[in-house]
Amino acid sequence: MDDLKTLWQQALADIELHISKANFLTWFKNSKLVEKNDDTGAVVIGVSSHFAKEWIQGKYNKVLLDILQNIDDTITRIEYIVLSSKEVEKKLFEKTKKVKEQPSGNQVGFIEFSADPETNLHPRYVFDSFVVGSSNELAYAASSAVSREVGKRYNPLFVYGSTGLGKTHLIQAIGNEIVRVHKKRKKVKYVPSERFVNDVVWAIRSRRMDDIKSKYRNIDVLIIDDIQFIGGKERSEEEFFHTFNILYQNNKQIIISSDRPPAAIPTLEERLRSRFEGGMIVDITYPDYEMKLAIIKNKLQEKGFSLSDEVCGLIASKIQRNVREIEGVLNKLYFYKELKNSDIDIRTAEDIITNTLQQNTVHIQPQQIIQTVEDFFEVSHADLINKSRRKEIVLPRQIAMFLMRDMLGMSYPDIGDKMGKRDHTTAIHSYDKISKEIMKNKSLNQKVILIKEQIQKNPS
């Protein structure tokens, strides 16, 4: 495959010398060598449009053949095909783009076009595309068990984890899997808890509670996303409680997700909490480096887009908290590549990633980092900045220095200064040590991520 690419690169470089730039760009842009048959000596060249095919075939066939034969004398003839627009990766309407007024956010669209109207499940969320690693293998195992033995094994299944780690993906995948296996025999319904609340509110307003009851109570698999939003909304909680009981008594499967464990949802009623806790509770935690790398590779494959291993590694190490951010960065890189039509080197990638992450770090002061680290480890400010070498002080101190470098990009002398007039080499050592340590030590990594989250949550 790479051979074809290099061969074509060589040929293109040569062609460029023979024809004008305008012609080259128009006809050879997005072309590629698709296939080379060593037996017959035929090569297949894919071009971007039918016009390009006619043109190259009619005008440049001989030149092209000469050039190719110069590079590889086994080639005897050329065939041409038109690549599909997806392969060409170009915007179809670049030139004719006419921005009509976009309907506002309130305009209801056909949700059916993306999600299944019956189940509300999005077809893109399936087990196959879910990357399993140590941070989510328990959740994954429980989920696939549920999809195999609906309503019997783990009921209710409660999945919790921070935002952007794949809860929705996982619970929708259960739904999709059940639909796939049981066809239409099992009635699956995916409901964001917000929708449930809206339904209840609507029913109260229009005095149609019976509709709600019948809507939610004859379901075989009820999937409720982000249940924490239901907390504190009494009528919805009550309605949900009854629905839950009825479904549960009839051995119907209930799957719930939340951003925290049931015990930590502050306004949730006690009787609901105890019911959630009666089933299987699994968590999804932050992915480690290797898993993030796997996720990146997966996404790249989905998009048909490639990046060097170096850049992938950079993304995986820079983005700590959130898989969704990875997707965001990838999209940016992708657009960048489209725009410049060149490969992305490590420097550009670094810029793009820092830009993306910077939105979060703009208002953070070094003082905040120190404060949060102190709070987290429950050490006093005096302890943190004095010369103590006690282990329980040294680690927080190093983490604080690491974070100042990592989140704010402060200079080492500056960091040393902030931490009780230490030498800059101490700062360098701390940064290097923690950087290495979080790669190896999972629990430390979790801690660092938690602290970061705290810092970002409480901008002073």
């Binding site: 305008a22 039918h50 179809l92 004719t96 305009q107 209801v108 056909f110 059916e112 109207p117």
Partner: protein
């Protein structure tokens, strides 16, 4: 090349090419059109590398040949020349355009530099022959519901779908959907059941513009990558949109909370008058209260004021209060052919339907604007 041609014929021919965008920073030759004199006709060709149009103009051919000339200059000359008969003669690298009392010399580009117009792949070719009016009616009934979209390129066009010996024209921008059907029994076609392809919106607009003056039949050839529209004098070839059109049947509602029948013209004029005070979202609210006899159309805009219009309508079902983008409503009503119009309304989350009670071949599905 040396020809004599009638001004009006040439003018008409050039106007057919005028819709093809002839600006290209990349390839200057696209600003040109190709003139080819052969077989009693002068063929004029323009392309933007997405669409190509070839049109034949009857002429007296004294000498065959071809030449590429800049379109805009040529068009200006032909539009303003007063004589009926125009001579076109190629002399070296220039085209001499002359009449009894006028001469112009236009610098030309070698015809070889003009793009080669692709053709449909013979082995995969399917065809259908339409009455031109039928085809144009099908396109214009639905094309307003389509919109250029980079995110969903498959919606930036009109779907032509052959199903159960009907031809369906479908377009949607995911906020509304229009569908027009033709019973295909008498239609000459080699398409199989459930074959479909998506024609880019730009192409549809050009087809409607170019062929609207013609009568008779039009043949469509298609190899599932490209489509060719062909009449005796004109051919248009275009790339198709690749991708899968969403399952449009899913969004067509079958049940309704409130069914309303009313006079179409009354509704349209009420909508027009009320729309003048609608807000930036073009929002118009339709209300039917418990008595189920009248429909109220309401609009209000913070800056300008508010208005309401009362209509007597026939209602079946529940009271109603729903907001719509009036432009979307209007797009749908335009193609209802009968005097009365049927509305099937549903609650906010679900789409509603607009249709003629007499004519089931056309329907329009519309989503509402969330209130508040």
């Amino acid at each position: 090349m040396n020809v004599i041609i009638l001004k009006n014929n040439l003018k008409e021919g050039l106007s057919i090419l005028s819709g093809i965008k002839k600006e290209s920073s990349q390839l200057p030759v696209l600003k040109n059109i190709l003139l080819e004199a052969r077989d009693d006709k002068v063929y004029v060709t323009a392309t933007d590398l997405e669409i190509a149009v070839v049109h034949g103009i009857p002429a007296k051919i004294l000498e065959k040949g071809s030449v590429a000339i800049p379109f805009s200059v040529f068009l200006q000359i032909i539009q303003n020349v007063s004589s009926e008969r125009i001579h076109l003669e190629k002399e070296g690298n220039v085209l001499r355009v002359y009449t009894d009392n006028y001469t112009a010399k236009i610098a030309t580009t070698p015809p070889d530099d003009f793009p080669i117009i692709p053709s449909i792949e013979e082995s995969k070719k399917q065809h259908v022959v339409f009455d031109i009016n039928t085809l144009l009616d099908g396109f214009s009934s639905v094309m307003n519901a389509s919109q250029m979209s980079d995110f969903r390129p498959e919606l930036s066009g009109v779907l032509l779908h052959m199903l159960h010996s009907t031809f369906r024209f479908v377009a949607t921008d995911s906020f509304r959907l229009a569908k027009k059907e033709y019973i295909g029994k008498k239609i000459d076609t080699s398409f199989q059941d459930d074959d479909s392809f998506i024609i880019p919106l730009k192409t549809v607009q050009e087809v409607v513009r170019i062929f609207s003056n013609e009568k008779g039949t039009l043949r469509i050839d298609c190899d599932m990558r490209q489509v060719l529209f062909e009449t005796e004098s004109t051919t248009l070839i275009s790339r198709l949109i690749e991708g899968n059109f969403p399952d449009y049947e899913l969004v067509i509602p079958k049940e309704f909370d409130t069914k309303v029948t009313c006079n179409k013209d009354e509704f349209v004029s009420a909508l027009k008058v009320v729309s003048s005070l609608s807000n930036r979202l073009h929002e118009v609210k339709l209300e039917i209260d418990e008595d189920l006899k009248h429909m109220k159309l309401l609009s209000s805009s913070h800056e300008v004021g508010e208005s309401e219009h009362l209509l007597t309508v026939k209602v079946e079902g529940k009271p109603l209060s729903l907001s719509f983008n009036w432009k979307f409503l209007f797009d749908g009503l335009k193609h209802v052919s009968s005097d009365t119009v049927f509305f099937g309304f549903n609650s906010e989350q679900k789409p509603s339907l607009i249709q003629s009670p007499q004519d089931e071949t056309y329907l329009y599905v519309i989503t509402s604007i969330k209130s508040g």
